[in-house]
């Protein structure tokens, strides 16, 4: 048969590829079903964005840390991208009682639930743990007229339309929420804010470097090198405390009463049974205490922001409130 002639190499290629990807997902782990000694097996981490993004990175690093620390075996990272993570959220909410599934989420998903008019909400999930946070930073080009945050604020208040704000996320994302909350705090109507959305931090930074936006708001991690080399000027960070290694004042220190960080954490499906919730929280806690995770935090420049269970649940509720308020003022919620 002629058909068989090409079917075989094709199957071989497929098998090879699948083997490679399976091996990839488990972080090079030995695979196999039977785990012992208190190890968790068959955990699946759902990522609501495409490979390469912040959620994806966090999930993959966490999976590797759990495996290297012998806390879990065969952790699968599954990308289910779409609608800012709310497609994945819907799947999670639909998987009632599944104790082997968690979602890697964060502040971005809180906003997406509103902008995508998602039926699934974070209140329906079982909060497990907040893992990391990253402050946002206000930056301008080295050629910008604004030397200090005060100057920027004065100009912004005088004519919000004229001072454009660039952000690396779409409306509802962290880079959009931060300037909107800032505006609200200093008495500018968020509707007046001239927010320009760029495709990710990279494209935004290019616009800031080229002095094409009034100012940019983005994650601290993406800008450190540019600040160090003097290509861009940092005017404020949005965290409660100044960021280590950066000589930049916080918003609060400069008279703007706002704290804001882009956080990432884990939630599980609703209605977990028989101690599944406790087991997952314990897993998160053990991972957080492991040397492997600590090393990963340092290597990736992430700030530890560990809280668990109900405390995390309360936190999600308050974030939800604050995001919902500002987005409804903008007509997005």
């Amino acid at each position: 048969m002629r058909v068989r002639g090409w079917v075989r190499p094709l199957l071989v290629a497929l098998a090879l590829a699948l083997a490679a990807s399976a091996c990839g997902d488990s972080g090079g782990g030995s695979g196999g079903g039977g785990g012992g000694g208190g190890q968790v097996t068959g955990l699946e981490i759902l990522v609501g964005t495409a490979p390469g993004g912040g959620f994806d990175q966090t999930a993959r690093v966490a999976a590797k840390a759990m495996e290297d620390a012998n806390l879990a075996r065969n952790v699968q990272v599954q990308n289910l991208a779409g609608a800012g993570g709310t497609i994945a959220l819907q799947k999670l909410v639909n998987s009632k009682g599944n104790g082997d599934l968690i979602q890697q989420m964060g502040l971005g998903v809180v906003g997406s639930v509103y902008t995508n008019k998602s039926e699934a909400t974070l209140e329906q999930t079982t909060p497990l743990a907040r893992l990391t946070e990253e402050p946002e930073i206000v930056v301008v080009s080295k050629d910008s007229p604004y030397q200090s945050f005060d100057q920027l604020l004065t100009a912004w208040k005088a004519d919000p339309g004229k001072v454009s704000v660039g952000g690396g996320s779409s409306p509802g994302g962290p880079d959009h929420l931060a300037p909107m909350l800032m505006a609200q705090t200093v008495g500018i109507d968020p509707k007046q804010v001239n927010f320009v959305s760029f495709d990710g931090g990279g494209e935004l930074l290019a616009a800031v470097l080229g002095n094409q936006v009034g100012f940019g708001v983005t994650g601290v991690g993406e800008t450190k090198d540019q600040i160090e080399s003097g290509e861009i000027r940092a005017l404020a960070v949005t965290s409660a405390e100044p960021v280590e290694g950066l000589d930049v004042k916080t918003l609060k220190e400069q008279g703007v009463d706002l704290e804001f960080t882009n956080w990432r954490g884990w939630v599980a499906p609703p209605d977990l049974q028989g101690g599944d919730k406790e087991a997952l929280i314990e897993l998160a806690t053990k991972m957080h205490d492991s040397q492997e995770w600590k090393d990963a935090l340092t290597q990736n420049g992430w700030t530890d922001a560990f809280i668990t269970g109900d405390e995390f649940g309360t936190f999600i509720t308050s974030e939800n409130q604050r995001v919902g308020d500002v987005l409804s003022e903008l007509g997005l919620a």
């Binding site: 090879l16 454009s164 990736n300 997005l332």
Partner: protein
């Protein structure tokens, strides 16, 4: 010249037999995963990245470079053979590439793609070595208004692919623009044409549109006619490129590289627009215009070179500024961080040795890709000897698996089928499919840049032409549009000038206007 000696040092570090073996493994794995439909280079690299984690940095780079180039080439392979592009930058390749394949010239199409990718990768990486710092300063100065001007130029060029009936061409264009509107509006966050279906919120992926219109539409069309026509088998033809094929390919390779690299280096350039500009350029400049639409080798050589050159260009902002400007670059950035490299303005000073080893690895990966894949081209091509019903069943299967694989979502299958039916209907009523695809690529980008430009100028329309570059581009557009008048009244009867303009290296500004499309060839001596 310091760059060159640094590069040689990089080769000294990178070139060992073991490392070459890793590179070969990377190329094979990358190609194998890359040919799976729906899995583009970004996904390929993300999936295979952990495989490299256990290696020391240089070996990891080399294998990584192999995976990267393998993944890129894998996407082109499915475009050409099965009409199912794996990524948006090989959508244009599918147009002529698949036609070539169906005329029994699949080997040549794959070969010109492979060699073109090699040439472009080689030149692109050289340019990266020599020009990176200079380009970066220029690239960040390009504003949204400039991008919009470039898009307008691209839209003018679209008329070249509208086909014989303008009305049908514009109708197809409108279908594409409408599909491009679907999703959440990035400027305001409002939903457009999503009909409350959450899966539509991010818009429809270009790949799904292309696979739906090309592959599904075609398969349905063939199925609809199968009973009335004998199920003939596609001929395999010669195995390798002839002298004539080389003669027709080398200029498109170089022109494609020249278009692709700068677009890759621009923060919002991307790999799609240069492939499309390259296609249009080759169509204009080819001596075999009649072959376009029936499988012209130039239409594969140019776009394939330009998407690879663009990939090399992407490394410019990434390595020198730490700016990932597309998904593949974002995955790579994550990878480099994993190897202990922090891309950014200080990278070359801080980690010079590693960076040069990486760049040398890119050369090696690129070379191995050619060495391994060129002999395989005739083997791949034999896939097409499958009898038509099985072949199209296979295409349908692979297209569906691909659409499903991206997000494991059944809605994507429904979307694919609906767009496939649209593609079938377009064929039934004689609408050309290429303008629709190009509009899906161009429309949303042009809109985004226009609105960005207007936002940045706070609503002042003059902001659109405030920069010198934008002014220059609009001037070119004006010349292109007014060319019929100019040529009629000023240059009447002076054929040599027109000939020189049409043969000039910079295609679009010298392009005869669309209205003269039919007349120009007759004017030639």
């Amino acid at each position: 010249m310091e760059a060159l000696s640094d590069l040689l040092n990089g080769f000294a570090t990178a070139l060992t037999p073991t490392n070459l073996a890793w590179a070969a493994l990377g190329v094979i794995l990358g190609t194998a995963v890359g040919v799976l439909p729906g899995i583009g280079p970004a996904m390929t690299v993300a999936l295979l990245l952990p495989v490299t984690y256990g290696l020391e940095p240089t070996a990891a780079f080399i294998m990584f470079a192999g995976i990267f180039y393998g993944g890129m080439f894998g996407g082109s392979t499915t475009s050409i053979l099965l009409n199912t592009p794996g990524e948006s930058s090989s959508v244009i390749t599918a147009i002529e590439g698949n036609l070539m394949a169906r005329n029994g010239r699949a080997s040549q199409a794959l070969a010109t793609a492979a060699i073109g990718s090699f040439v472009a990768g080689l030149i692109g990486t050289m340019l990266l070595v020599l020009l990176a710092p200079a380009i970066v300063d220029l690239a960040v100065g390009i504003s949204a208004a400039d991008y919009f001007a470039i898009m307008m130029l691209a839209f003018i060029a679209v008329t070249a692919v509208l086909g014989s009936s303008r009305i049908r061409g514009f109708a197809s264009l409108a279908i594409g623009l409408t599909l491009g509107l679907i999703g959440i509006d990035l400027a305001t966050g409002q939903q457009r044409l999503t009909f409350g279906i959450p899966q539509l919120a991010d818009g429809i992926d270009i790949v799904v549109v292309a696979v739906g219109i090309f592959a599904i539409g075609e398969a349905l069309w063939v199925a609809a006619h199968l009973r009335r026509r004998p199920a003939d088998i596609i001929p395999t033809g010669r195995a390798f490129m002839s002298r004539e094929d080389y003669r027709r390919s080398w200029r498109p390779w170089l022109r494609g590289t020249a278009l692709g690299f700068p677009f890759g280096a621009l923060p919002a350039g991307g790999a799609e627009i240069p492939t499309f500009l390259s296609y249009v350029t080759e169509k204009r400049l080819s001596r075999h215009k009649d072959e376009f639409g029936r499988g012209a080798i130039e239409g594969v050589a140019g776009p394939e070179a330009s998407n690879n050159a663009s990939a090399a260009g992407t490394l410019v902002p990434m390595l020198t500024l730490g700016l990932p400007t597309n998904a593949t670059a974002a995955v790579m950035l994550a990878a480099f961080t994993g190897y202990g490299i922090q891309p950014g303005p200080l990278l070359f000073e801080r980690e010079g040795d590693l960076v040069w080893a990486l760049i040398a690895s890119l050369f090696i990966g690129n070379t191995l890709l050619l060495v391994l894949n060129l002999p395989l081209a005739p083997l791949w091509a034999r896939l097409l000897r499958t009898p038509r019903p099985y072949l199209y069943a296979g295409i349908l299967f692979f297209a569906s698996v691909g659409a499903y694989a991206v997000n494991a979502s059944t809605i994507d299958l429904v979307i694919l089928l609906v767009i496939g039916l649209l593609g079938f209907a377009m064929r039934r009523y004689g609408l050309p499919v290429v303008p629709a695809i190009i509009a899906v690529i161009l429309g949303p980008r042009a809109e985004q840049q226009l609105r960005r430009a207007l936002q940045l100028s706070n609503g002042e329309i003059s902001g659109l032409w405030s920069s010198p570059l934008a002014k220059l581009i609009y001037l070119i557009i004006a010349v292109v549009l007014l060319w019929p008048l100019i040529s009629r009244f000023v240059l009447r009867g002076r054929h040599p000038l027109a000939e020189a303009a049409a043969g000039a290296g910079v295609p679009l500004e010298a392009e005869p206007p669309p209205a003269d499309d039919d007349r120009v060839p007759e004017e030639r001596p």
